[in-house]
Symmetry: C2
Subunit: 302 residues, 2 copies
């Protein structure tokens, strides 16, 4: 018996968006730009640049237009997140051609997050996705609370699968399925992703884990065995979720890349250069970098 | 396809020995006793109590005889470690009926650790194991640096298997195979333990991981898939290795138990009581408890 692991994995870097949006202190726009450019320089080919959310609710993302104007290039898939029609209207003013939208499987979570039920969110998003696809956009559907909800507890896999189906039918190119509060256990990762792989063989499937209970790497290892070869991670383990109490950072890009490369799975990411990227943003953060790889190697990086 | 995980796992608690032996400040004997008793009270059925090493080299273990005299009972497998003939002679003066001996697969490591080559160690240990078995002892063989050595680098799986074979032939009841410096990647865990399971189907096989590079839980998950159902762990993640530069603590019992129970694998360990045990020893340690479960739950434990 072998473990049936993929030979190559794509890392979707979410630090500049999912990571920084949870930072209390505003990270200067110039620092963000340098951070993003150095992430790309480290070999990351798909990057969530920023989010077109209301600057009133998330002031950290108030410089979204400027970030996009300066950081877009032809070599990487540069993704911006937009929560609603208003955000999408701002995205289409830019040259960005990849948009992430998001919905929580849990109704309560969705309601607390964007003040809509899951049903209301989907009713708004379906026509938007249709329009975006007509205009040639890449659409990434982020499914949050796919395993557990901080308010409702366990989420039924059926409900996660059903929400994914709606996105696929609406035309989404990618499903990014998240354990938003870092609570999934590895057998749950394996089971849900096995099912999604079977149900949606023609859609890019990405797993998104938070490390709250230290199981992110194990969940990734389980998802690899389910055939997943795309993972959202965040340089430095930045992140958390303002609407998910107790959620720790995303799985750290460097810890994930280190493990994958050690297994012999190609990631295209240069760990030394990635550490340089983390060092650019580190002085501007309100908390220490907690990734293991950074702790062990930061001192040796110039 | 399913993951093929066991239904039940035995945790061998090594905190009082492998954990405390690396503590700089002497933990009072009474505290150790209370720690051990509370670990047993939490449901741990196999515990490494202490080590009959030279008190000159490891003063922390100078109270070994007193610990054994007070902590032995009929309900748990109480194990003491002895590095050589001298240590064994002290063990047989006690009522303890389970002995752990150890050898490093890596020659350099063994030499730096106990000033003998691997070959010299085995030449001394083989007749000792024979004698112990004749007297009815349970013999646990601890194989260190089974994956990587801090001095020699990669260790050949063949060499680890061969050393295990010598122990099995000498009569050992258990092989505890260790990633001493916390460097193994999960595919290596899976491969070596699959092989050992096949080679030695009639010997208890235990996996021992350190969390230096954050892969301990993933390595355990991989070993479970290889059929391993016994794991050495240390309450509070205590430990490291004085002769293995950079080695972090053992996989923390609470993090491992939490993951296993979440997967639905029975461990017999009560996490709340385990946290009480960690709180007994915590004030006497020179460093903070780093386990994730403790950080998340310590405040709610009385």
């Amino acid at each position: 018996m072998t473990l049936g692991l993929p030979k190559k994995v794509t890392i979707i870097e979410v630090g500049p968006r999912d990571g920084l949006q949870n930072e209390k202190s505003f990270v200067p726009t110039e620092v963000k730009k340098e951070f993003i450019k150095s992430l790309k320089n480290a070999g990351l080919t798909e990057v969530e640049l920023t989010s077109f959310v209301s600057p009133k609710w998330v002031p950290q993302m108030g410089d979204a237009a400027e970030i996009v104007a300066d950081c877009l290039d032809g070599d990487t898939r540069d993704i911006v997140l937009a929560p609603n029609r208003k955000g999408i209207d701002r995205v289409v003013m830019t040259d960005c051609k990849a948009v992430a939208v998001f919905v929580g499987v849990s109704n309560t979570f969705n309601k607390k997050n964007i003040n809509k039920t899951t049903l209301e969110s989907m009713a708004e998003l379906k026509p938007i996705i249709g329009e975006l696809k007509e205009k040639g956009y890449f659409v990434r559907a982020c499914i949050s609370t796919a395993f557990y909800c901080p308010y409702e507890g366990e989420v039924k896999p059926e409900d996660a699968v059903e929400l994914c189906r709606q996105f696929v039918e609406a035309g989404a190119d990618e499903l990014s399925v998240a354990d938003t509060i870092g609570m999934a256990a590895p057998h749950e990762s394996y089971e849900l992703f096995s099912r999604l792989k079977t149900e949606f063989p023609n859609t890019l499937l990405t797993a998104h884990f938070h490390d709250t209970r230290k199981m992110a790497l194990t969940n990734i290892f389980a998802a690899l065995q389910a055939g997943v070869d795309r993972f959202d991670t965040s340089a430095g383990g930045l992140g958390g979720c303002p609407f998910a109490p107790g959620a720790a950072g995303n799985a750290a890009t460097e810890d994930v890349v280190y493990m994958l490369e050690r297994i012999g799975i190609e990631t295209n990411v240069d760990l030394e250069k990635l550490m340089q990227a983390v060092k650019i943003v580190q002085p501007h953060l309100s908390r220490p970098i907690e990734s293991t790889y950074f702790r062990l190697n930061a001192e040796t990086v110039k």
